[in-house]
């Protein structure tokens, strides 16, 4: 049976639910989502404000058949498995959850890492309360009117992971979730993370595979339409690191949305390295008083890559804090889009928000679009935002070279330094090292002799003569 995403049907969903043994409440949810899906059209980049910067029809092929099984189930080399700590691990390969490992000491504390379809039965109360709670509108206006790429997931998600960290349980070791692509087609992974009061959790969301971008694999196109919901409990601290390490022709859509309750802290890091097109939406609803979130991003785009990043923060409750920082480098014919949004609702007094995006254009032909938005409906707040796109700073480069450091090494130091500001904000096992290793490889592959340096006229104001 090959069903393209665009032909999602009741029959398809029923067959999937049967195979997974899903309870009726979940079947009903899927059916309701399908209804919405059938009423909607695919995003139209000419008319949809949020899609204006990335042409949907051109970058995302919705005609690829949905993959409901797993292809090659060998464990890929990923961040979580590279650590020497006993971490929980869930592995999605293509359309199937193929492995869940929970170390005994975690299970004893009541930590759940499970198949989402099964959890809909075994942890019905939690899953029912939260699955889809951030993707569909409710009376309080959390969630939102989502486009068809999201209702497609609500209706048709194939492989899901449920994570629950109970009240007062503090985990140091990360919970790894691998989303690995081995078969071309449409993949519909889904993740739900719920944490209890005073808990602490770290989730590594790893995206790997997709074949090889060139040569014989050139036709192996993969569309990944992913939805991740994170419910951060009261005074809970949750870190989510999403690594986009795709190796081939992968177009990746990902809504990663969190609701942060009273006094909770949520840190999110998106690392965009691989994939042909990656459109990631790290969204946060600050629903509880005094909640805080720190959406961070690191990206390095090279030839042919298109990264679209749309952090969206909604200050709903009073005295909440948000600080968005995205930094990226571009080389070759590549394109990045940063469309940041901070919305401060009318009751969100005492909001403290900041939003920053910086892009470094290494070689000619790359283009970075950046628009940090700020929409304020409340008077009593502190807000700042800024964006800058530039080349390597000629004065900095000369300073390093004048100390004997060869140009290539100087550039490397500067690019590392550029990213360090972001990575230093999130000291989690293996994350800095792995991200810097990616950056290192990107720089290694780059033709540094082509690196553009700021114009000489800009070099030294006031230093002439």
């Amino acid at each position: 049976m090959t069903t393209p995403l665009t032909d999602l049907s009741e029959d398809f969903l029923a067959a999937r639910s049967d195979a997974a043994g899903e309870p009726s409440w979940l079947r009903d949810r899927r059916a309701a989502a399908l209804k919405r899906f059938l009423d909607q059209a695919w995003p139209d980049s000419r008319n949809d404000e949020y899609w204006r910067s990335t042409p949907f029809a051109k970058r995302f092929d919705v005609g690829l058949p949905i993959v409901a099984e797993a292809g090659n189930t060998a464990t890929p080399a990923g961040l979580t498995t590279s650590l020497d700590v006993a971490a929980a691990l869930a592995r999605i390969v293509d359309g199937e959850l193929v492995e869940v490992t929970v170390p005994a000491e975690l299970a004893e504390q009541g930590v759940v890492v499970a198949d989402l379809s099964a959890a809909a039965e075994t942890h019905a109360e939690l899953v029912r309360a939260h699955l889809g709670s951030l993707t569909t509108s409710d009376d309080e206006g959390t969630g939102g009117d989502e486009d068809r790429t999201i209702t497609a997931s609500d209706a048709g998600w194939t492989a899901g992971v449920f994570v629950h960290v109970p009240d007062d349980v503090e985990l140091d070791a990360p919970i790894g979730i691998q989303v690995h692509a081995t078969s071309p087609g449409t993949h519909l992974p889904r993740v739900l993370v719920v944490t209890g009061r005073h808990s602490r959790a770290v989730v590594y969301l790893e995206h790997t595979g997709g074949g090889i971008a060139d040569g014989e694999d050139a036709d192996r196109k993969t569309l990944v339409d992913e939805v991740v919901e994170v419910v951060v409990g009261e005074s809970s601290a949750v870190d989510v690191v999403s690594l986009q390490e795709w190796s081939g022709h992968v177009a990746h859509l990902s809504l990663q949305k969190a609701a942060v309750h009273r006094g909770g802290t949520y840190r999110h890091l998106a690392v965009n390295i691989g994939g042909t097109t990656v459109r990631i939406r790290p969204e946060v609803d600050l629903v509880g008083e005094g909640a805080s979130c720190f959406p961070l991003g690191v990206y390095f785009a090279d030839e042919g890559q298109w990264f679209d990043m749309q952090p969206y923060i909604r200050h709903i409750a009073p005295r909440a804090t948000s600080d968005v920082l995205y930094k990226g480098a571009l080389q070759g014919k590549s394109r990045t889009v940063f469309r940041g949004n901070v919305l401060v609702e009318k009751d969100a007094v005492g909001t403290d928000t900041n939003e920053t995006n910086r892009s470094l254009i290494l070689t000619d032909g790359a283009r970075a679009d950046s628009t940090p938005f700020l929409e304020i409906h409340c008077a009593d707040i502190t807000a700042g935002h800024g964006s800058a796109t530039g080349q390597i700073d000629a004065r900095q480069l000369f300073y390093l070279e004048a100390r004997g450091i060869p140009r290539e090494q100087a550039l490397r130091l500067m690019v590392y330094g550029f990213f360090r500001e972001v990575l230093e904000k999130l000291d989690l096992p293996g994350v800095q090292e792995r991200t810097l290793a990616h950056i290192d490889r990107e720089i290694e592959a780059a033709d540094l002799s082509r690196v553009g340096v700021g114009r000489i006229a800009d070099v030294a104001p006031g230093e002439v003569a």
Binding site: Q396, F398, L400, E401, R403, R407, Y416, G417, V464, A465
Partner: protein, 248 residues
């Protein structure tokens, strides 16, 4: 032949000629002071020696230890032993002082210095220059005060053991105490293996570092040369007198 031999050097910046035929000799073990009013071309000479890309050599030569270095890249010159203490040290965000110095020292010496040995040397030099240990983790020049930046320049000079050090207005913007620390730092590094070119507008740094020769630059040329006493003359008469004579 002098260790640094500049002959009839002309330099342009953005198409405008700033240096119009500068000739200067400096041997290791000697200290020269290059003085002159603002806009006379002193800093241009400093940047031209160091190889700043905005400064184009259009004529003449810069020979260092026998090689014409005018076409060399800045890093090649630095590895050969040229050091420029900058008037406006540049902030390099995200690059730690330790990492920067270690990379530079390894490049200059052409070998990987063991970390322990490097740190021992570095801490010794930092103590001499009253540079706090907390600097090690900070980004290069980021958030440094004017005095800290200048002391950091001299710290780099100490670690890189140059054979030619050009100090471009190292005294500017320093109060008396900071100037004293920096000047003593430079004085301590003087010796038979180092030639020093002090570029300054004022004479006060020369009270701490006695030059062997003083040259006065005006309109892109050296218009007067003499011994240390020339600095004293300038202290009294200023540049006006020299300018009147030179331009007559």
């Amino acid at each position: 032949m002098a260790d640094l031999e500049i002959r009839d050097l002309t330099v342009e910046v953005q198409g405008e000629e700033i240096l119009s035929g500068v000739t200067l000799d400096l041997d290791k073990g000697k200290t020269l002071a290059l003085m002159g009013p603002n806009g006379s071309g002193k800093s241009t000479l400093a940047y031209a020696i160091a190889g700043h890309p905005a400064y184009t050599v259009t004529g003449g030569s810069i020979r260092f230890k026998g090689d014409d270095i005018a076409e060399w890249t800045p890093d090649e010159r630095a590895r050969a032993g040229v050091f420029l203490a900058m008037q406006y040290p540049v902030e390099v965000p995200g690059v730690s002082v330790t990492n920067f110095l270690r990379t530079a020292v390894n490049a200059r010496r052409g070998e990987e210095l063991p970390v322990r040995q490097f740190m021992t040397e570095l801490k010794e030099q930092m103590a001499q220059l009253h540079v706090d240990q907390s600097f090690l983790q900070r980004s290069v020049n980021e958030g440094f005060s004017g005095g800290e930046k200048k002391r950091f320049e001299i710290l780099q000079m100490a670690m890189l053991t140059p054979e030619l050090a050009v100090l471009d207005e190292t005294d500017s913007g320093l109060d008396v105490d900071a100037l004293k620390t920096v000047a003593e730092g430079v004085d301590r590094l003087r010796g038979p293996d180092l030639g020093v070119l002090i570029i300054t507008h004022y004479t006060r740094i020369l009270r701490y570092i006695k030059p062997d020769e003083v040259h006065v630059m005006l309109d892109g040329r050296i218009v007067k040369s003499g011994g240390p006493e020339l600095a004293d003359e300038l202290e009294e008469g200023g540049y006006e007198e020299i300018a009147t004579v030179a331009r007559a």
